[in-house]
Amino acid sequence: MKLTLKIWRQSDAKAKGNIVDYNVTGIEGDMSFLEMLDVLNEQLIAKGDDPVVFDHDCREGICGACSLQINGEPHGPDRLVTTCQLHMRKFKDGDTIYIEPFRAKAFPVVKDLMIDRSAFDRIQHAGGYISVNTSGNTIDANAIPVNKDDADDAFAAATCIGCGACVAACKNASAMLFTSAKVSQYALLPQGQVEATDRVLAMVNQMDDEGFGNCTNTGACEIECPKGISLENIARMNREYLSASLVTK
């Protein structure tokens, strides 16, 4: 395959970036999208140019490091995959592909396609935990039975990989799906109940402080989420937040 790539290049956080055109050849359908970029980078290095910087690590769709807005969609046109698991067979010979970083005020560009998603970490710091010390004497794991449906729903929410596709897809750059997935995981489990009120307030406040946009229920996040995190989590967070706001002192 021969492809034309239109890639966002930006030398550092402060620089003004722009789209640069590249041609790559010898792309095979079995390659992953990132392997296609590896080919481009080998070409650039051979020419003495700066390779394109992008985040990636596990390349099996679970670490959440890879991102990329591909032809206007986070993680590209395929569903339920991350960019590292998107294969070039989804493209045709001669295609032009736009490759941009995930865009949000809260996700500033670090370099080229690499972004700073530490806003997500700070939301988690604010309350994404259950306060339990590591003593080795916590109660037996089977002491509190958990309804299987709740456990399964909590698990489904917990599979979020924190990639930021929800923010990237949202026309408002809202982080509601991410935040709600974490709030939901704990809200659904008995262990999470004690701190539920403080947690949702703290996490939502942090989310707002980071400069994410508001949710307008377009549903784009759910469609683009590589892990299929459900919008139900957002509704649950709305409920949790409302009731928490009313009961706190």
Binding site: N71, A104, K171, E232
Partner: protein, 219 residues
């Protein structure tokens, strides 16, 4: 508690609640208009009641006006905030791939509806207020039907009304169903609720259009 006013979720819920209130008002308004198709007398009677009852006039009407203003002001505020959440825009953005046109263009459909509201106020509400409270004319319980019919004589105005209601459908198509999600209602009844909302989004504006067109054709 302060978070309840400033937080993104509180604003979202406020949008949903004001929207739901307006949906309810719409239903009420439509019901009265619809009556005009088959019973001018009953229409006049209800209109007279609405126009003179102090509870409606001095309690419900201000609430309604507040809800309308709140809904659109908040809509603008959120739109501006949301725009700021993405400073650098995408060179290529394929929004259609993951969200409906309606959901992505609420501000546009909302603006059209707002413009329509301006026209509507100019047509009905302003003359009504002038008639009643500025010129303090005596109440004529049978004047309402005539005024209504008179307004739909112009094909241009009728056309504008029809067009506006198309946008109202687009606005409601996303807005009504989405308000359930905003207030945290997402469960096994959601599919049914969403279907109801979508039917409503088409049926009610369509009903308004029918009323307008029928009156236009009849006169």
């Amino acid at each position: 508690m302060s978070g309840l006013i400033q937080s993104s979720i509180a604003r979202k819920v406020a949008m949903a609640l004001s929207g739901l209130f307006l949906v309810f008002f719409l239903l009420q308004h439509f019901s009265i208009n619809f009556i005009s198709l088959f019973s001018p007398d009953l229409f006049n009677e209800i209109s007279h009641f609405m126009g003179t009852n102090p509870v409606v006039q001095f309690l419900l009407q201000p609430i309604l006006i507040f809800a309308v203003i709140f809904h659109f002001v908040m809509g603008f505020v959120l739109e501006i905030k949301n725009n700021k959440a993405r400073v650098v825009k995408y060179a290529k953005y394929n929004g259609g791939a993951n969200a409906s046109w309606m959901s992505r263009n609420m501000i546009l459909s909302g603006l059209v509806v707002l413009a329509f509201l301006g026209l509507h106020f100019y047509d009905f509400w302003v003359p009504e207020i002038v008639y009643k409270y500025v010129e303090t004319n005596p109440e004529l319980p049978t004047r309402y039907y005539e005024e209504l019919v008179h307004k739909f004589e112009s094909p241009v105005r009728t056309g504008l009304y029809v067009l506006s209601f198309v946008f109202l459908t687009l606005h409601l198509w996303h807005g009504f169903a989405s308000s359930f999600q905003s207030v945290g209602f997402n469960n096994k009844f959601s599919i049914a609720a969403t279907k109801f909302a979508k039917v409503f989004a088409i049926a009610i504006p369509l009903g308004f259009v029918i009323v307008a067109v029928v009156h236009h054709l009849n006169h």
